[in-house]
Symmetry: D2
Subunit: 261 residues, 4 copies
């Protein structure tokens, strides 16, 4: 998914057809079936991003560059993904950028893994732990499709049993029992490093926070984020009727060498 | 603000004193006055991130690595900053990472400029337009303090009059009249490139969306984001009483070569 | 829908069947088909509220007293209803209670009409304007089913053309062009009386507020309300994934005899 | 606080002075000090609601009818009040209107007590339990000032020890340990009656829901409500920057004679 100006075989492309989007790999003999007709993917090769092609019934389809929201929302998955609104703030909280060393547990479908890897290029690394075979397979495939496979070290290991790495910048968790990883994160993180964990229930958050308080963590905070879409048109602007009311609570903390109190 | 493991003279450090945070440059002869006593900043030099020092009355102060939220919320400023929750999702929407070419208008206090520059390292660039002298000065200083000055080209120019760059990946706007930049963004952006604009009022959003519809943009969407903090402690967990109820509406669109309809 | 302790023929009853609710009028020969089997409504007669009966396949169905949320959400309708969360705050803003004289435009399906009438008993009155025949018919039927028909005067008239009543306590509007009613409301309201209007779009709100400022209204405020449901169970508590993100904006103002400024 | 058209001695009046509001009892010799000058309250007597008077420096002050939001937000208090947005939806959930028999625990400052009493007139009653002497005194005074003292029976008793009344329509709780009242509420409520409880923490909500499940309650639901204010002016409309992010979680359930399952 490194994005050149012209589409080549094997590229990951976003086709925008009458408000619907299809994130698809361009393969020569493949036909894409949409609600506005069929598209021969071979025809897309050689076109520029931003160009338009027509379906077999003459409807327009736009060739677009997938962004990271497209990637996250469209990865092949067998589990709940982490939402873009949550990944976004995690990047800033974890100071995640080129060069960052990030430990992730678990890989899940690789949606967050891919975004983290995209950001830490070219000299950073994501160490991603996952115990479930089938998820690891999907995550590897998704990360590869984003073109960032070189920046991820997948580990078929249980992160609640320990973290191999030392002196890492960030530990990001999206697992059922994040509190079991707190002491391992305390060992793995640099001084001042960032602990970030996502959980859907308050009980998971309470257990994690309680464990953070027992170890070398300070500045613990918990929050949730929301996104609300609008329909905008002069004289008709209004928020959409439905919204996502909950994804995950986010727990943040900083590792220090000496405990508070 | 490149963060080594040991604090050196000139480093930007976050001092955490009894739940209050001070983002401060370490200068040998400087004394920091806090609510829990004075800190001789000279003593911080040579300490590790994660270490603790004591104030003159014996209270603990933790030496922390500032993250990008610390940076954004604490930049010296003369204008409203863009909030971390909004910058986060913008990164994903704009696919902003190492190598991205981003046009920003205006620089403001440089809070968002700094984060963008941090992300596009080492081979990307941020072209940041600002007409107000005093803001440009502050933005330059803030970006330099984050250690990413090399990745920003500041331009003392009015972005509503035109964009010099071509074939850029993203145009991000945080100005009073973003609709005046839409046609320039259409020229400057690559095919499939991303237009992102922040505005506090619905009227600004309506005008911008209306202009996007007249030019080569599709997949236009508008949203707002929220963040809600919790106090978490077993048996006492509850959201905080007050929250920020509004920052800015975000407008997103993709540039294509041929207009819809 | 006056609720006695024992169910009688003609009563409006809420049947609660395995988390689904049916708001139904008890008629001797009627059979209710539910996802957990059929219920012979004749069997419900003579039962107490709070009693349980069984469906033809032996599943439990509870006989409940409908509350006003059940009424509002289940009225037969041909239009969008006003949501309980919005009606609730309107009652307090309009000081609507026994004895209040309320003008409503338009009746819609009568959901709000019914609640208003329920509250103004026994000595208040709701004057409800509606121009569309088919809505008037539905509203009358719904209000009658709530047992509060005596407290409503339906008027087949266009409220944007004028309000017949004088010296009323509150004017509540849920129509497409509320700004056209502002000057009529100024005439109809008592000194210090309350103007309340619901609109889905910002444009409607702006026009209404602008008109209020030109007439004898002060203390103008605009807000929106939200409700977010939780799943609660020890160790599993979390907000529901989906929520309603928008219903209507509410405009409030007070009528005075002399304009501000 | 029965509101006539002309202000009399002893009336509770809302004075609106340049966007600030003063809820005040009209006493002949009293002077009100405001930020726009002094007002001799004697001058207000005989004026109509909706009239304007001038302060000693010639600024306008409007004489308004307090609504129930004014009452709730301005009661003399020694504790957190229940917010109007929450009371509003409680009225609909509890089908609270003329004739309702409501048990309330505890009285607190009487803000909710007053609204409940206002609604159940003329033939309903509110039985309000409170153990703390000083609160009972304040609650009685506040309810009397709203003119609804005749509809409240205050009880200096601990509601967690038992409820004297039987066959009531609603039990509303705003106390620290609502779960201790669940079995008493099951005894006191009519079949199909409504249990409603407000608590700031998730832990209180979990305990209450868990106890409801053990007793004769079904259709248990939990939610929170929000209100977001806007500044509206053509071309400048936007939500206010700050909002209240949390007041209380609301628990609702219905009493039946036979337990589920």
């Amino acid at each position: 998914m490194v994005v050149e100006d012209v589409v080549d075989k094997g590229d990951k492309v976003l086709l925008y057809c009458d408000r619907k989007k299809f994130l698809i790999t361009i393969e020569p003999k493949r036909i894409l079936h949409t609600h506005i007709g069929m598209i021969n993917l071979e025809e897309v090769i050689g076109k520029r991003y931003g160009d338009v092609i027509t379906t077999h019934i003459g409807e327009k389809a736009y060739i677009l560059r997938p962004n990271l929201v497209d990637y996250v929302l469209n990865v092949k998955r067998r589990t709940q993904i982490v939402y873009p609104k949550d990944i976004g703030i995690i990047l800033l909280l974890g100071r995640i950028g080129p060069g960052s060393l990030v430990v992730e547990g678990g890989s899940g479908s690789g949606a967050m893994t891919g975004v983290l890897a995209y950001m830490v290029r070219p000299n950073g690394k994501v160490f991603s732990y996952e115990i479930r075979d089938e998820f690891l397979k999907i995550a590897k495939r998704n990360v590869k499709e984003l073109g960032v496979g070189d920046y991820v070290v997948f580990k078929h290991k249980d992160i609640t049993k320990g973290i191999d790495e030392e002196n890492v910048d960030v530990v990001v968790l999206d697992i059922a029992s994040p509190w079991l990883v707190v002491r391992h994160a305390a060992d793995a993180l640099k001084g001042g490093g960032y602990f970030i964990s996502l959980s859907p229930t308050i009980d998971q958050v309470e257990r994690t926070v309680s464990e953070l308080r027992k170890h070398n963590f300070i500045d613990i905070s918990v929050f949730e984020t929301f996104i609300r879409y609008w329909k905008v048109k002069e004289g008709e602007s209004r928020p959409l009727t439905f919204m996502v009311g909950h994804t995950e609570f986010i727990v943040f903390a900083r590792k220090v060498f000496e405990i508070e109190g």
